[in-house]
Amino acid sequence: MNTTDRIELDAATVTLAEIRQGVSAWLDANWSPDLPLREWRQRLIDGGWAAPQWPVADLGRGFNQEQAGVVADVFHERGAVGAAQAGPRRLAAETILAHGNADQKQRFLRPILSGEHAWCQLFSEPGSGSDLAGASTRAELVDGRWLVNGQKVWTTSAHHADYGILVARTDWDLPKHQGLSYFLLNMRQPGVEVRPLRQMNGHASFNEVFMTDAEIPATDLLGGLGNGWAVAATTLSFERRSFAQGRTSTAAAGPRTGLAHDEYAQELAIANEPYTWYPQRQGRVDLVLSRARQTGAIKDPAVRQEMARLLSMHQAAALASASAEATRRAGTNEVIPAGSIAKLAASVIARQAALVHTMISGADAMLAGPDSAEQGMIAETLISVPAISIAGGTDEIQRNIIAERVLGMPKEMRSDTGPFRNIKRNVS
């Protein structure tokens, strides 16, 4: 079989068994762990297996979730490396897929799947965090290209990124949501400066990005002028979904030696490096019982009360999410508050976990580092938990969403209507 051969399968009629057979046969002829990663991924894309859930015209096969799941299963069983998906690149891909023109899809999607291009997300600004639509990074059309000036912040992986998805203001006389546009920005240019941002827990998972006359070709405006808010909503909905699902790993079962696997491991290590402390910001509920037994705190009635509260909430939140997911699958019209409630619950649980860990550790909680409890993970938990109620939409924003969209309570009165240039903003 020629390596670029694509087996055609009609998504409307193909059976799951035929998909399994097709993937298997194609892997027999094409997969080798000894290939360089980039070369393997090109074959993978040409074969139509890199993103089978995407449309046929855009490197995919138009498969539904179940069909794509079979493809993923076979790759997993065979220990074959899949398309690149770690980090924010898939947010960019899904947004380009939804809003891009043929030329944009053609230029950007393949290098995302192959892993050639890493991406970052340039949304938050020092002056607009919760109020994303208040972005004041400026994009102006000068001599047929866009010139961008402004600052973004909380940009994960910006120092490794080749491109960024950017929301910038293109019209200051329109109301705030209408004056935004969405761009695909080349990060590798003199007008873009990336500086690491150190957090209170000592990690530097994010960056500040400064743009000074950064250039964007006119062809890299995504979704049309002034349509930035709608396009950004697409990105955010994918982000929330991946937040709820947790980060997925394409780690393969079976033998993992060979050039492709080595290069893939490097790609993952770079992409996952910012996230090593994420389990700690969730409160490390998994450590609570064993720590309480080790230290003897398990005998303290006050600690037991707080532990029971924590473990109850933790389990009930998981049960509630599972139930909401089942309702969603059943396709009822019931308003499901799952996303925002799960987000808020994660904060409450993490704070309670920090309280319990503090009670269990006592004075030992003054220590940090590898010689402290659980190789420093308890200390890292205590100083990382404050992030969970801010990242991805603060608790206060989640409560507004729950109150307004689920409980139907009246909206807050607005003071940010009319032309954007007249709205009160932070002084920079």
Partner: protein, 368 residues
Amino acid sequence: MQTEFSNDQHQFREVVTRFLLDKSPTSAVRQLMGTSEGYDPLVWRQLCGEVGLAGTHIPEAYGGYGFGPVELGIVAEEMGRFLYCGPFFASSVMAAYALLGAASEIHKEQLLPDIASGACIATLALDNLNLPEQVGQSLVAEQQGGDYRLTGTAPMVVDAHIAQLLVVIAATPAGLGLFAVSNPAEGLTVTPLEVLDPTRKLSRVDFAAAPAIFLGEVSPQALQTLWDQLCVVLAHEMMGGAQALLASTVEYTKMRVQFGRPIGSFQALKHRCADLLMEVEFAKAASHYAAFCLAAGEGDAYAPSMAKAMASDTYMNVARAAVQLRGGIGFTWEDDTHLWFKRAKSSEVFLGTPHLHRERMMTIMEGV
């Protein structure tokens, strides 16, 4: 193990809801709570007869419908939502569960069909309502020939004032036993008590060598199982009440205008309601899970205590907010909020306060 309700169960819930919507408006609750009986015999007969709820979880062999803890939970959740006043919890839940768990076959055949049909109102007399470990410290059974006589006090018995049958757990030299005492009987005094929650009537029951029929032994494990079963039903009732009370409170904040805007547009109130919705969702998930566990006879052994503790705290948190968010009107007798507030308080402490159940949860977990 079942993790979601079936379509049949959803439909069953709708039937229960429709009945209660019609028969248990707050006007009826207010009227009944002021009477000494505390229930409407006609509605009770319809509930037992037309709708058949009194025998929900009683096996068909004993005249019931043969459903399980999940359907029983559905009934309780809806009754809690409408603050239903009647002997369902005392008779169908407490007495029937005690008989099913500990009575001999012949006594189940004798006693359960009338409970299932509603012909007999029964209740369960316990001398302690805080912890199963403390049951049997006051009530004692003495055997004289083939006959048993009970002596001691059950300080609070739900609906004893209208019960024809008292199912009693009392101490015997061989351990705890389950007994039947008819009401009235010689040596039996039932004294209605002034209660904090007038929708749940309580009486003190004094036994002075009252004649009793021995129904079976009650092992400590059987008593704990019974306690778990009752707590799961009670958790459903509380969580149903919490849902209704949160909904009415949210509606109030949309209507009430101060400072030229609905008070529900203020974030201080929105955020409190959002937090409560999260709590209610947790209590719901924990209660449903506990019922699924009981129905399957598997899952976490601490699930009933987890559900009881969460539902208790949630109901009280909602009740406190329900008064607070209504402001002065919420503290008046005229407003309905206090009906739910009082039910929340009496349910919180009935069959063990939340902290006792959290302690039990930890004891079970530690053993695992």
